[in-house]
Amino acid sequence: MSPVKVFGSAPFTNVARVLLCLEEVGAEYEIVDVDFHAREHKGPDHLARNPFGQVPAFQDGDLMLVESRAICRYILRKHRSTDQANLLREGNPEESAVVDAWLYVEALQYDPAVHAVFVQHSVVPALGGEPDERVIAESVAQLKETLAVYEARLGTRSYLAGDEVSLADLSHFPYTRYFMEMPYAAAVFGAYPRVTAWWERLLCRPSVRKVASMMGRDSG
């Protein structure tokens, strides 16, 4: 069985998310870089894989997938081996629904706020612009509000969807890793000891350590 292919490199958060799942299940995979500086992601070869001109794309035999969380679901469903290694909590309709809910909270509420800060703090200056402090302030305020709910939730369970780790928790890792390098992290996470402890539990996972090192030291 040939290894699956991930198109795109590890420092991209959506690529890192997929790599995390591959590491969690111990699948063999190959990373094929897509050169953003050369605009390779908008070139015909990559558009044939991902018509939205984004990374990642993911290939397993004849199957080509896009959208990182959809790819994650595929990997975790394909490789589900035991009830313990069940990061989607499939087989239990109520538990898997709660994983879904918190994966959507991550995707639609948490990630966009962190992304907005990242763009202003890291991307805009790299392109020679001035960070929009109002956007940063609004996004940081939104993050604090969101994490207040996480803090309460983690008071009664170890992970967001229950007492076992799930894709909902892991999906937070890539952007949070970059956020923790920014000056706003202390003010945001400092107010939430349970969220901080949850983050530290995630950092202990071998898959997380491996992908963190693949993402590199610089947020680019």
Binding site: L63, E67, Y74, K78, S96, A97, Y104
Partner: protein, 225 residues
């Protein structure tokens, strides 16, 4: 067994997404109507159901669930898994394609359409100016997206394959409002997308849910949700 309860207001595109799935399955449910202008979603009894203070919320026995697409997945998994590419006729590949296009809808389609709907329909009723620059930008994003959809739907009857799925159904509620704006004609440049939209409109479940979704969200006649 008590029927499922779904809390919210029918004009909400997120609520409509859930109602559509419930109607598609024919499952029994109770609609608990809440008042947005009355701030029902911010009251302690609702925050106990959804700490983010949003709707829709589903209650099914001991389960209380939020996030419209999580609720949709739960309802379909239980009552009509084929709409997720699961079940007897399902496969890993089929369910993966549903997941892909559902995520495209969530991250790309809704992101493009929501500002258009907000600025072209809602804002005038709530005393906010229309940001034409943002609308123009969003229309451009939507057109680029429709180019991809057109290519896809030229080779496949529905987004995830030849069977309708949650990926298609999930588009309905925001498209319903987008098609009520002056930009509805945008779709004419994409004949397969237009045909796909018209196929959705023809579904009895869609007609039923749409009946609760006036094109102005009920704001024009003083029927604030």
């Amino acid at each position: 067994m008590a029927p499922m309860k779904v809390y919210g207001w029918a004009v909400s595109p997120w609520m409509a997404r859930v109602l559509l799935c419930l109607e598609e399955t024919g499952a029994e449910y109770e609609f608990v109507s809440m008042s947005r202008s009355g701030g029902d979603h911010r009251r302690p009894e609702h925050l106990a159901r959804n700490p983010f203070g949003e709707i829709p919320v589903l209650e099914d026995g001991d389960l209380t669930l939020y996030q419209s697409r999580a609720i949709a997945r739960y309802v379909l998994r239980k009552y009509k898994p084929e709409l997720l590419g699961l079940g007897e006729d399902g496969s890993l590949e089929k369910s993966a394609m549903v997941d892909v296009w559902l995520d495209v809808e969530a991250h790309q389609h809704e992101a493009a359409v929501k500002p258009i709907v907000l600025h072209c329909i809602v804002n005038k009723y709530v005393g906010q100016d229309r940001d034409q620059g943002l609308v123009d930008e969003s229309i451009q994003k939507l057109e680029k997206l429709f180019e991809v959809y057109e290519a896809r739907l030229s080779g496949s009857r529905y987004l995830a394959g030849d069977r309708i799925s949650l990926a298609d159904l999930s588009h309905f509620s925001f498209m319903r409002y987008f098609m009520a704006t002056e930009y509805a004609g945008v779709i004419d440049a994409y004949p397969h997308v237009k045909a796909w939209w018209e196929a959705l409109l023809a579904r009895p479940s869609v007609k039923k849910v749409m009946a609760g979704m006036p094109p102005d969200f009920g704001l024009g006649r003083g029927n604030r949700p």
